[in-house]
Structures are given as structure tokens and as C-alpha cells.
Symmetry: C2
């Protein structure tokens, strides 16, 4: 049995106690942008319930064009006004460089990725850069409530980047 | 008190019963790519626990360059080999068109977004297109275990797209 099949069995159990449909717009008018890291259970670590916040995730929790797309849709069409950014300690993005990653991919495939890998060396600095990318973007409407945090994978705490 | 402050209070409670650090690579060697929709609690609906799977999310659960970046990092640096794609019923991406969204943004800001909004009209067709984008990409290594689903927000079930 594949992992996917195992998780489909879990889903059948989840559906048995499912409460039913909720409204489409996020009830807390919030969008969270976090790293894809497996240890970040975003709903649990923020105490979010189904229907409360958009959750956007990628390698690093960085802001690229696709996160701008998601945030613009979230704010313009679905009414969110606050943004929480979450990076975390022991992040994989701290373990390589863009050039090194691209070199390896090029050696393996013969093609150099045309996109940035978005590696970083300083968690807090990259949270600040992510906030700066949002503040500088012309398509995001609400920029007054954008706060960034580093989640500590050792103790489960969010520490704000100021 | 802002929503963010309220959720930080939740996080303090979460940290009190936090079990401690887990390994960086996802234990189930799985990456999930799902829509950002607030009603999709990905860990709960798949029965995932902290540390088991990368979770990538965006508006629509679509595959653009940034999801390729995340999946390539997930597979090449952190050992994942299976991919689950999740779209869902009552999705916001079904409620507008790329041209219409861009027209509105241009009217509001004076600038037409240079990126696709990635709206779609058929959930299953867009799941299939997402799988096709992954299969066609030169940078993703493992493509044999890529399966796509539509989550039903009325009953909590994942229905496979075949």
C-alpha cells in the first residue's frame, strides 16, 4: 500500500465526522504564508480551525510571483486583510546556495533552472525581505497588517521578527 | 486585539504540549500540493502528523514555476518521491476569469499583472493539467506516483481524478 492509499483511508475517517460546508471567504480575513516544512502544522500551531484563514506554503515560505498572485486573489476576491509570514529554525533553505543547487540540477538534467531557488542564510533577514517584497508590490491591497515570525521546531513557539 | 495577536495566544498553548524537534526530511517521503482555501485543513483531512509530508499551497492548488521550485527542492534535497494534488469543490478560482481579474486590477492600480491568475472552469480538467505540468517538467525527479484529487467541502471526502 502506498502512502497515498494509507492517507486516503485516513480521509475516510475524517469525512465521517465532517461538520459540513463552510463559507468560501476566510472567517478571520487572514492569509498565512509559511514554509512547506513537514514539521509546520499551520492550523495546529496557530490554533486555526477549518474556514478561518487562507494558507499559502512553499519551499522557504518566500514571496515570489506566485505568492503575490495568491495574496492578490486572497485580498481582492476573498476579503483578507491581515498577513502572517512564517519561516522556521532548521530550515532546508539554509543548507544550500542557489548556485550550488542549480549546478547540481544542471549536472543531472543538462538544463540550468531559469528560476531562483530562493535559498537564504539568515532567517530573520529573509522574513524582513519577504515583508519588503509584499510592501513593494503594486497588486496587494492591504499592507498595514503584515507580520513575520520564525517558528522554533524545537519548542513549537513563534518568535516575531521585528 | 488583532487576529494575529489572538493566534499568537493560541501558539503559546500549542507550545506547552509540543513534543520537541523532529527530523528535517519528511518521514513519509510525500509532498502535498493543495489549494490555499481556508476549509482545507490538509494535516487533518489526510490524517498527517507533524514531520510526515511537505505541504505546498497556493490559490487553486495549481502548478506554476514556484511549485516546480518547491517540488524540485522537496525531491532533490529532502527525499520525497510521492505527490498528492488537491483541488476542491466551491473553489474561488471557478468564480472569475484571468482576463476579468486582470482588467479589475488594471482599473484599480493602472498596472496589468504580468502573471497568469490561473483561473479555471473545470476542477478535474485542471487537476489533470497540473499532473501534466509536473510530468512535463525537466527538474522534477520522481513522477511515477503523482495522483490528483478533488476535496468535497460539503462532505470532507477526497475524490480521485482519473
Amino acid at each position: 500500500m502506498s502512502v497515498t492509499d494509507e492517507l486516503l483511508a485516513n480521509n475516510a475517517l475524517y469525512a465521517k465526522s465532517f461538520a459540513g460546508p463552510l463559507p468560501l471567504p476566510p472567517a478571520k480575513q487572514l492569509a498565512v504564508l509559511a514554509c512547506m516544512d513537514a514539521r509546520l502544522n499551520v492550523y495546529a500551531l496557530l490554533g486555526l480551525r477549518e474556514g478561518e484563514a487562507h494558507v499559502i506554503r512553499n519551499a522557504g515560505g518566500v514571496v515570489t510571483q506566485d505568492e503575490i498572485r495568491s495574496l492578490a486573489i486572497s485580498q481582492r476576491l476573498l476579503g483578507t486583510t491581515e498577513i502572517i509570514l512564517i519561516h522556521h529554525t532548521d530550515c532546508g533553505m539554509l543548507t544550500f546556495t542557489d548556485d550550488g543547487f542549480k549546478d547540481e540540477v544542471q549536472q543531472d538534467t543538462g538544463i540550468r533552472p531559469p528560476w531562483a531557488a530562493e535559498a537564504f542564510t539568515d532567517l530573520a533577514a529573509d522574513v524582513r525581505q519577504s515583508i519588503a517584497r509584499i510592501k513593494a508590490d503594486p497588486f496587494i491591497v492591504h499592507k498595514d497588517a503584515v507580520r513575520g515570525f520564525v517558528f522554533d521546531v524545537a519548542d513549537g513557539r513563534l518568535n516575531e521578527v521585528v
